[in-house]
Amino acid sequence: MDDAGADAMTWIRAHLADILIRLAAVAALVGFWWWATARAQSLFFPTPDTVFEAVWNDWLTNMGESWRENFWPSLKRLLLGFGLAAFLSVVIGVAIGRSRKFGDYVEPIIHFIRAIPPPAFLPLFIILLGIGDLQKVVLIAIGVFPPILLNTIDGVRSIDPQQFDTAEVFQIGKVRRVTHVILPAAAPKIFAGLRISMSIAVILMVISELFAATDGLGFRILQSSRQFKYVELWAGIVVLGVVGTVLNGLLLLVERRVLRWRVN
């Protein structure tokens, strides 16, 4: 315990200038926001203190309701869509990466889907799937599908052939070859795809909720704007920024755990 404390101290000392400059930057940002908005006295751009007060009053003090009405519906859609796409694209990606022929069949289609801006699917999906959660989940899934898939394919194709030969020599079965050879070797690339996809997923979650929704984080922002509540609107934007950061942070944590074995 003491050791850890001492380690932390040396780390802080070594990075003191770095930490200070970062803190100064944050202070400068908030300071500038304050100065500019206080000066402008604009209805559209409230001062940071009122915004943070709104974050506290509207979001944090009645977290139970915010969670039920806004956070949970949004996160549910995001995680379902993200999880579905991640699972499918890793499975399909391994198949494509291992078989040239299958890749030749499927790849043109994937490249075309990737070219379509994901929000353009929204009207079509509303016709096909209605305005419920299904449409929102599918929209998120299709948006994050191509980056994860292409990264998985790339990862599988760049595996050293020697690894397969070794697996052959040790008579490792097909299934175990996938779980013990292919997936670990492709994991860094797969995670790169997941990281790109997370920010896309958040964007699509918000878009799907700005349109034909009755709950969620995006819906709450839309509602504040419809009622001309500017401070609440800004508070919602800040909360969404925090949600995006937290999701990225969690993904990084998972990545670090899964790829711990990697020497880099």
Binding site: D18, A25, P108, P117, P119, A120, I237, G241
Partner: protein, 242 residues
């Protein structure tokens, strides 16, 4: 590629859910006839206009800023912190705010596109300046080149492949944002508005056609940028997507 067509024909022969997926040939026909309509081209140009004005402004802001941040270590650290704070805010979350501030016209679209395009260009410019060969900079100093001149004549050209990669990424972001803003906010002209209209009419074929056409626009933009990249930056092999 031929098999792609064969796959399309398969969905046509299946006819399991014609209410969900009209035969491929009919969608294709609708798509082609769409390209002959003037309404489509007005929508197309409106969207493109917003995209390119936004992209242009973002480039003009992000490149000088990126060069400055890339060259100064302290400014870089400070700025990265601020950028890391601002970047997670999804650009689409700003749509409701932007509508209130700027209304539903081109101005609002451009403002949002500028915001979203800023980040990829900025990051790539910073990244590019960090990859400039120090020998080039030292040589410039030996020849008595001033600071501004060094930046313009050494750093900017050396970083330009990276900057262009940033602009290329930003172009697809711009299209995504333009379409989403049009879908959510409405307005006078635009591909997203036509998509929305097709949905309101309940015209499935038209919806498919517009979705495909939007994809074609995305593909076209991608190919144009790639062609420029290959031609202008043929001398470099290190321009890669970071």
């Amino acid at each position: 590629m031929v098999l792609f067509v064969a796959l399309e024909l398969l969905t046509r022969a299946e006819l399991v859910t014609p209410a969900y997926l009209p035969p491929a040939s009919e969608i294709l026909g609708e798509t082609v006839s769409l390209l002959g309509r003037s309404a489509f081209w007005t929508a197309f140009w409106a969207t493109m206009q917003a995209c390119f004005i936004g992209l242009g402004i973002a480039t003009l802001v992000a490149v000088p800023l990126g060069l400055a941040l890339g060259l100064s270590k302290w400014a870089h650290k400070a700025a990265i912190t601020i950028v890391e704070l601002l970047r997670p805010i999804p650009s689409v979350a700003l749509i409701p705010l932007a509508i209130l501030v700027w209304g539903r016209g081109t101005e609002m679209r451009v403002a949002l596109i500028v915001y979203a395009c800023l980040w990829p260009i900025l990051f790539n410019t910073i990244y590019g300046t960090h990859h400039v060969d120090t020998i080039g900079a030292d040589t410039a100093r030996v020849f008595g080149m001033g600071r501004t001149k060094t930046v313009l004549r050494v750093y900017l050209p050396a970083a330009s492949p990276f900057i262009f990669t940033g602009v290329r990424i930003a172009a697809s972001v711009a299209l995504i944002l333009a379409v989403s803003v049009e879908i959510v906010a409405g307005g006078a002209n635009g591909l997203g508005i036509e998509l929305q209209l097709a949905r309101e009419l309940g015209d499935l074929k038209l919806s498919y056609a517009f979705t495909i056409v939007t994809g074609l626009v995305g593909l076209a933009m991608h190919f144009v940028f790639e062609a420029i990249e290959r031609r202008r930056f043929a001398w470099t092999t290190q321009a890669q997507t970071p």
